[in-house]
Subunit: 214 residues, 4 copies
């Protein structure tokens, strides 16, 4: 496999992605080498995709740990093994044309809610000011549904189900895998980070509210 | 718009404000570019007001991200867009003449309590030693009421309601917006920070107490 | 008031005390300028006492913020105002002859338990391995009682009650003030820090256990 | 006792172990000098064992704080006193031949679950994606049992019971001592760290789920 050929612009994006991954590590959202992170360059720049390789501690990740892949998730350049979940990034880039970054994390609160609302098919988040951090939401009077997929190790089937869910929830800003974690995305690395932080804040508020006695 | 003309004294205040904002970010109180922060100079120095611009990550904020505004919230200098909530800072500076700094944050606990006590109109905090950190409170035998306003995206109406609430609760050290966040203030940047830290500590204690099973 | 005359040994102790105070700040145990910290030199060195001045942010404290006091809590040297709680440090140094450091902190969990067990007069901690971190405790088969005093702003009366409690609980490693905080101490600064960390760990475990639904 | 004779390879392992211990301190898992950490070199390198000495703050530990011991836990080199729990490390190295590192920590959540499931003899963790971080587990459709031993200060008897438990649970990745803490291990220092982080994440999820009201 050839090495990635970095240029200044690509390297800046790679640094921003790794910075976001290390920040997630400080929040406890990528325990035990969990999680994966990718970005895509502008269409004018070929829409190239770079993703973290499998099995690494995200708290110590650097651009050298990224693989370049195509939209079918074939590895084009870089050292290391792709994660089995790489295919889900491809599904999201194909299903959401304006996506430029995807973050996948495991948090205490998204794990808890993904199980609690599994029978409902989605976690509802409603009436919070922080919802305005989600692209296209301009008021707290909004009901965000974060759809939940059953977890699976069979990634071909899971990819199909994710494709369907993205169509069924065209306005969703994230998708949960049950007892597994959250996928969220954005029109930039900063946008994906903003979506992640907003959703995790709201998951914690909702989980604490629902899990209290009254 | 002209650039802000800093002098040493102003710049020190700006650095102190940004330091407080970055500290709030480490506490998780300004998720996803939420929150805003302002200070006002002494009357002898013209009572000039400086406030964080809209949409920035408060964990990376610097004096270059501040706007100078007047008491009617017209922008006088600086780069960037003012937040829609800038008008609420103006209401507080007009309603509390000795205010020199205002902090607005979203925390897990203030969000939860602002909803739980919405029907009562205020969160009561009573009998705690930490209440003594609030200016003018000299004993734990004190009942602090933190009034709650319904959240709204219609800021003219919200400004009027905030004006009324400040009159109705002349001794309040903070105001909550429902499912949105806290506004608190002080006679200095350090004073606002002390009020914020005391109120958030007490919100967490009260929320944990009320949300427990017994 | 004269300045403190530091020598190398004193200054090292002062640095160790300030380091402990700043560490407590990172843990959230001294919110809004709360808390106070003192050490006493060896009897051979005169048993001199140094304590943090009132009203300071403990996250930024340095030896210049310490006052030298005598056993009756009269200030002998240093800049700044003594805290009203300085007298409680004197009570502990008189009642526990081998005490060389005293820490006073406000945590979420000690505040909650000090109220929950107020009618019982003490928080019981039993059967935990971490109890062995308390001086003189060599097995987990130990029942530690942390006595609780009603909070008061009348420090002469409070000092008398603390004196009685120290006699009534000769083996206690700490005392709680209701809805206020914890006093703990040790035969060295490191010993007081070890006691503090052990008690706060156990308060959190017990509070979470008791506050759960089952 | 002679000093440890370090070579470059050994020193790197010692640094990695101390780094893991300091990281555990930042997570609050080794309160009040609790916890201990060891590594073993490859069989080709003699299978030498190095372990943290007793009574130290694990947040400030360095290679100079390590003792070299043999498989019977006799100290061969290094300054300081071995912990009473050193014998349990020997039991694990003998019972799990491929173990190259052992971590022992006290966390809020492992302490709570070790008590709650004591009558059942093990904490069950089932259906979580993070289980795949455990060596040999390749799907979330896995039920991990973390066996629980009654705590004891009588380490000869405790060692025998730990020997039995390791045989009775041949696939276990960790063992809990009731109201005391977790032992976990791995085929490398990074592997033990990954197991620790995965188990503690799952303990927190399970404890929060079980302790909630519904």
């Amino acid at each position: 496999m050839p090495a990635v050929e970095w240029n200044d612009q690509l390297l800046q994006l790679a640094e921003d992605l790794c910075d976001a991954a290390r920040w997630c590590s400080t929040r406890g959202w990528v325990p035990a080498t969990a999680g994966n992170f990718s970005f895509r360059t502008a269409a004018a720049d070929g829409g190239r995709i770079f993703i973290t390789a499998s099995g690494l501690d995200k708290g110590a990740i650097t651009p050298a740990d990224l693989l370049e892949i195509d939209l079918d998730c074939t590895v084009l350049a870089g050292a290391g093994r792709p994660s089995a979940e790489t295919s889900l990034h491809g599904v999201i880039y194909r299903g959401r044309a304006d996506t430029r970054a995807i973050f996948h994390v495991h948090s205490i609160w998204n794990t808890l809610l993904s199980d609690r609302f599994a029978a409902d098919g989605a976690v509802p988040l409603e009436g919070y000011e922080v919802l305005k951090a989600l692209t296209g939401v301009s008021t707290h009077e909004h009901r965000e549904l974060v759809p939940i997929l059953e977890n699976s190790q069979e990634y071909t089937g899971l990819s199909l189900k994710l494709t369907e869910v993205l169509r069924a929830f065209p306005n969703a800003h994230g998708v949960l895998l049950r007892k597994h974690g959250l996928y969220t995305w954005g029109e930039s690395i900063a946008g994906a980070r903003r979506h992640l932080e907003a959703l995790e804040f709201l998951f914690e508020v909702e989980a604490r509210r629902l899990m209290s006695a009254s």
